[in-house]
Symmetry: C2
Subunit: 368 residues, 2 copies
């Protein structure tokens, strides 16, 4: 879908409460807070350009049947990366990065110019780079991929065009990212639905290396895509999030358990004590740490640390996260120049778990 900008869908969305006005510095924009008329949640209207939201991608739980059912043509396999999704544009001469929800992200906007070369925009000013920003020093999520040992890295995995929905075909995307030296996720090549056992072997290898899985993209105009993740990914997700256990719907956790059980079953891996221990440890290890933290400090929180190129970027980020999460729950701890970066540290409280533990440690009785 190609539509002029301003795109009339946003005006209608605003009227119906499906879009919100946002401001970042001097820039005013609209952001869809729900899917609306074919545009995904997180779509953004800048004064004279709009950017489609990054659509949700379905997930298969069985590789063999999944690829048969989902694809009508050969497909590309690319590494799935555990980070946060941004869309990067050059707008009125400035590089801007928007989160999945459609907020201008002050962290990514600050860092992107040192995470990748951006001269692609000189020749293709209307491109939208869809990238995962991943690593232990990202400001949104704990943890990150095993292959990003510090700070963050960016991985461009899709290209879109402003004022349009839909992705560039994979070969065209590969040609462009290659030519302009953009960092990308590992590509594993092109497969057909008959290549199930090769793909299965690839997934087993990724699992053994502690990698998350793959995104499969049909090599066709409809460019259909699905995700498929490893056993490791299920255990890692539980491990990362069980520290906050009640913060998420319980279905987050049981979904991971089912996912990894079906992976192990399909891969013919053993159902052994090692697997049980890894999963049980994933549920308990960091939860015990949270209980200790609560007993020591009276609250459960996570300390984030991330690097900015500029002090202004860090300050804009703190303002942004305060606005989104509230001042109560996010407390800045430090902002210092170190080498060529400004290092921001802040605590993010885990409010539901803190509140529940507070009640329980006072001896409350809970009816379930």
């Amino acid at each position: 879908m190609t539509l002029p900008s301003p795109n009339p869908i946003f005006a209608e969305a605003l009227e119906r409460g499906k879009a919100r006005r946002e401001r970042s510095g001097a820039l005013e924009y609209l952001r869809l807070v729900d899917d609306f008329r074919g545009l995904a949640k997180g779509s953004v209207q800048l004064p004279d350009r709009w950017i489609a939201g990054y659509p949700r991608i379905g997930r298969i739980y069985r590789l063999e049947q999944g690829i048969r059912q989902q694809f009508e043509a050969p497909f590309w396999a690319e590494e799935k990366i555990d980070g946060f999704n941004v869309r990067i544009v050059r707008y009125q001469g400035e590089i801007l990065a928007f989160t999945r929800s459609g907020y201008l992200c002050p962290f990514s906007t600050d860092r992107v110019p040192e995470l990748m070369p951006l001269d692609i925009f000189d020749q293709h000013p209307d491109l939208v780079l869809c990238a995962e920003i991943a690593g232990p020093e990202n400001p949104y999520t704990e943890g990150g991929p095993v292959f990003v040992p510090e700070d963050v890295q960016a991985f461009v995995f899709d290209l879109m065009r402003a004022d349009q929905t839909g992705f560039l075909p994979v070969p065209q995307k590969m040609a462009l990212t290659d030519r302009f030296g953009l960092p990308t996720p590992r590509g594993y090549g092109r497969f057909t639905t008959g290549d199930w056992s090769q793909l299965g072997a690839l997934l087993n290898r990724l699992d053994g290396e502690g990698r998350e899985g793959v995104v499969l993209k049909e090599d066709s105009t409809r460019n259909r895509r699905v995700k498929y993740v490893t056993r490791f990914s299920g255990i890692y997700d539980v491990w990362i999030r069980a520290s906050d256990v009640v913060e998420l719907p319980g279905d987050f956790f049981t979904g991971r358990v089912l996912r990894l059980a079906l992976f192990v079953d399909e891969a013919g891996m053993p159902h052994d004590a090692g697997l049980s221990r890894d999963l049980g440890n994933a549920f308990l290890e960091r939860l015990f740490e949270s209980v200790e933290k609560f007993k020591r400090d009276g609250r459960v929180y996570h300390t984030f640390r991330c690097r900015f190129r500029s002090q202004e970027g860090a300050e804009a980020f703190m303002e942004h996260i305060h606005r989104i999460l509230g001042h109560t729950y996010v407390v800045q701890r430090g902002l210092e120049a170190r080498g060529r970066h400004w290092v921001l540290t802040f605590d993010k409280e885990v409010p539901k778990l803190t509140g529940l533990l507070h009640q329980l440690f006072q001896g409350a009785a809970v009816v379930d």
Copy 2:
């Protein structure tokens, strides 16, 4: 609260959709489907007698602070038993047993006369015996307590009176159950809020024996009560229900994980690999069995087996469960006389997990 029968609250509840008319054979009764005007969900109006619902009991997650916060007077500790809750009355000369939801339970009604002596009703015709029916051959839930190796047993843990809410005080209950030889849960005696460490030692012992925990009942007119369960209980609950993982809200499982983490922490038990392995195994062992069952039979189900005194009782039970769960999901497999019992076997399908696995094994992509 004492009110005449028919109790006008039921008529009002019926008008407001908070009560339903039920019939079992010639008996017509009303059952509250929600708490209403001080009566608990599951309260029952028989033609000229009403029976209060069994109230929900809160649960503490920390023993020391919990008993300090919850109790103003000494309290009794009784073993908590993992079965299903019934209220037993003698009405117009017949023994009737109602489930927690207020259904007349054909299974319990059939079996109660051989599970306990009932001459208590000769002298106390207005008593309501609140009992847990537990054991591997119960028709509602899988599993049961370690100390009921086969069939079912009944344990009377509270006494109420018809046409009243509230329980008889614990000492009066104990005197009556003793005098009339009623089977009861183990009693561990009377404690004060200062006896935390003795109670903690008791709970550790119960945990080691694979027992569920305790119900604590204040020795006062307000007769307040709370539950507290062992680490074992958390793991066992996960183990029993993870075979159906998506059938329950995920919070069922994460609640158990939090509960056992707080138990282990308070008891000063080690956070070791054995604990992790037990919890991980609880999530996976029976889920893998369900996946195997699905691959073999195309559906996930559990086979129940239970004994009746009469063929009519078994038939009435099948009619009851068909009406509650639907014909699609419950299939009778056999009903045979064995010794002095009729043995009923039936399969109960796990519809959500069956449906989801059906989709996933066809290769569906799920958006989460």
